[in-house]
């Protein structure tokens, strides 16, 4: 009865796409215009927080191994912390732009979680390839939220942050449980799905 892992990846891909588009729009119009309506400034931090909350059922129901449980659990906490900090900044309860570093931290925790819980090599199967690609995307992408803490008004930094979310979404949408990547599929991975 449980949905396959690939379905869950696609749902999270949708969430990341929403966050990416919101951040992109914010980068295009600028923070001043974006904050003109109170509800708008809460949108992407709320989605980030919600995705952190939704990661808990993933941790509970997709416990393939201890390392999976630890990865999903740490990911859930990091996303919730980043979402909460960004909500605090949007509401004005938090003032220091350095709170944006929690998002950089969430990226690095996510990267570690993804890379450590993928035990297979890049070309084992598509899922393995995407886990490695996602992990390294987050490692490199952490530079954007890190830079945002020091240069919050930079359009390049904000656009870069948005694009990291969009790329993440594309990777997650590409995921299949057992599928080849660039023609490679380990015989140990099992029978290919449709």
């Amino acid at each position: 009865m449980l949905p396959r892992a690939e379905f869950v990846h696609w749902w999270f891909a949708t969430g990341f796409l929403i966050i990416g588009l919101l951040l992109l729009a914010e980068a295009v119009v600028g923070e001043g215009v974006w904050r003109r309506r109170a509800w708008r400034q809460y949108l992407w931090p709320s989605f980030l927080f919600l995705m952190g909350v939704l990661m808990w059922p993933v941790m509970v129901f997709y416990t393939n191994s201890t390392i999976h449980m630890l990865a999903h659990g740490s990911w859930a906490q990091a996303m919730m912390l980043a979402g909460a900090a960004e909500l605090g900044l949007a509401r004005g309860k938090l003032h220091s732009p350095y709170w944006s570093l929690t998002t950089a931290g969430a990226f690095l925790v996510s990267a570690a979680a993804i890379l450590l819980h993928e035990q297979n090599g890049w070309f084992y199967a598509r899922a393995a390839f995407l886990h490695h690609a996602l992990g390294w995307t987050f490692v490199v992408g952490a530079a954007f939220p890190f830079a945002r803490a020091f240069r919050p008004g930079s359009v390049a930094v904000r656009t870069g942050l948005a694009l990291v979310f969009v790329v993440t979404s594309v990777f997650l949408f590409s995921d299949r449980d057992v599928a080849p990547v660039f023609g490679h599929l380990s015989p140990l991975a099992g029978a290919q799905h449709r």
Binding site: F7, L24, A25
Partner: protein, 94 residues
Amino acid sequence: MESHFATEAVAQLRRRSLRAAAVNLIGPLTMLGGVAWAFLQPYRLTVLHPYGQGFWWLFSEPPLYVVLVGLGFALFLAPALLQDLEEAEDAPES
């Protein structure tokens, strides 16, 4: 002086129209991406061949998700954002 103000006004209008065009394009381009994906990989849309599919397979339609995200952006976010962009640009600088 007048020509200086006119040049500034034209430059501001161009900047605004570029930003407005970018905001206007985000939703449709996202939808277009979803539609293009559906054409490239029609087997990802199980609603096109629904017989024998379980609930989760019918619920999970990734290209449709992308189209819906773009549609949601274009319908619910872009109009208010464009209005605010216009008002902010028209407001006198303090």
